[in-house]
């Protein structure tokens, strides 16, 4: 598991993808911080966090597109799948590699907190909570991106497919508002990713939201394992 994670990290940083990803993340988050917080002379980062949802939604598929698609294309999956490594460990190893990069990205918010604390009172609990929220949301995108990457040999298709799926996550809200029946509306809004994420940005940490995100991550990792398993039986 850690062998696989390590290999992926090595690969992220031998191709410039890893560096570029981190740099672009810092660039956007810094820009948002400047536009939405610093320029208003405030210490409220709510809009920044909201913006990061969309940044992650578009960028994480670029991080995950390669994870399995490239193995499928180069037939290196033959090495992984004939090694004494269980499928869940293989998939979790892949997941952790992308998560490690997301972690490096997200921790920049500690620095932003320090910057803000220079001229305003900063609520560290809220900052830490939001870092946690962003990591959870990002992990959902990683797990779904990994899943899509497993389905194809083509990185581009994997990236476009994952962005499409992520847009679908947002559209759940819009579906909710056009549902004819009240219970359907409630059902769809109870599945709202953006709604739940927004609660983090407002400083609300509910156990049920955390549990919701963890379940979605679990489901996608499970589905990825299933796809790998199923392929053997094709």
């Amino acid at each position: 598991m850690f062998a696989i994670m390590k290999r992926e990290l090595l690969s992220y940083f031998t191709s410039p993808l890893g560096y570029v990803f981190v740099a672009v993340y810092y660039l956007f988050s810094g820009l948002f911080l400047f536009l939405f917080t610093l320029s208003y002379q405030s210490a409220n980062m709510e809009t920044v966090y909201t913006g990061m949802f969309f940044v992650m939604m578009i960028m994480i598929p670029i991080l995950t597109m390669r994870l399995m698609a490239e193995e499928n294309r180069q037939k290196t999956d033959q090495l992984l799948l004939t090694s004494p490594v269980s499928l869940p460990r293989l998939v979790i190893g892949k997941f952790l590699s992308a998560f490690a990069i997301l972690l490096v990205c997200t921790l920049i918010f500690l620095v932003y907190g320090l910057v803000l604390s220079g001229f305003a009172k900063v609520n560290w609990a809220i900052i830490l909570g939001n870092i946690f929220g962003m990591l959870l949301m990002g992990s959902v995108f990683i797990a779904s991106g990994l899943f899509i990457s497993t389905l194809t040999e083509n990185q581009m298709i994997a990236a476009v497919g994952s962005i499409g799926l992520n847009i679908g996550f947002i559209l759940i809200d819009s579906f909710a508002s056009v549902m004819p029946a009240k219970f359907l509306q409630e059902l769809f809004s109870s599945l709202s990713f953006f709604g739940k994420y927004s609660q983090f940005t407002l400083g609300v940490f509910s156990v049920s939201n955390i549990f919701f995100f963890l379940s979605v991550i679990f489901i996608f990792i499970f589905l990825t394992v299933r796809v790998l398993e199923k392929r053997r039986w094709a």
Partner: protein, 331 residues
Amino acid sequence: MIRRSPAAAERIRKMIEVKNLTKQYGSKLAVNNISFSVGEGEILGFLGPNGAGKSTTMNMLTGYISSTSGTACINGIDILEDPIAAKMHIGYLPEKPPVYGDMTVMEYLRFVYSLKKSKLPRESHLAEICELVGINEVRKRLIRNLSKGYQQRVGFAQALVGNPGVLILDEPTVGLDPKQIIEIRTLIKKLGKNHTVILSSHILPEIQAVCDRIVVISRGSIVANDSTDALAKNMSSDHKLVIRAEGGSEDVKKLLSSIPGMDRVFVNREAEPGVYEYYLEAAQGKDLRREISKKLSSRNYPLLMMKSNELSLEEIFLKLTTGDNYGGVDK
């Protein structure tokens, strides 16, 4: 090389045992109910034309794909029942070496080392492998910058990491130049001394040169399974000849067929203008060389070449794999 009779192989521990293995892709039967076993320390050649089902079989043996029915055991462990334990004993070189272009050779081998959960001392073990397959001079190079021959050797090295008891090699010499082919062959022979090896190929001489025993597969089914010696003996005996004679092929054929004890006369091709090559088969044990020579000169058809049919292993292979029944070989 140690050659063992099949009877002796029975007494040795079976490292690979395949029973009624079948793989179906949709309506296509890629591998059809095959059974064989490989004893400890044996080198088995898995011979068959392209599309015969060699890679499919090897992918089932290594747990990359599952079988539709039947079982495959490695060192007594069923690959589907306890895949992790079975895979600990396998080194697999697939048709296309599973190497990562963005890693250096050493980075890659260290990665494989941790994947295989090897307990051997890492650096000395890997150094030994690099020495053995001859990749010392490229250890620090990126794999994508290596030639095909070197990439194949890195793939080979990968299969040796962790010193697994069973090596499964899918067409390991495909795409290599003749010098590299000989090197790889020598290497396989060397490895065969303390590993059980299955080696697939669609080229007969290659298999013949290194294997103790040959399993011939055609269109998903096994059509022969015998020791290399027995197969070769069966096929290159005196009663089969190749000759070249000048003169009309129909007339010569008729003439040769009239020799008592001549079973078959087959016009192979026109070797030179007016000179035809014939494959002759006499009844088992009959030596007709003198008769042939006399008969031809009596009618003034100059005999330009005569030799015992050493190509017949190829011929048999072709026959086996194109579906002709060939008495005495099919088992």
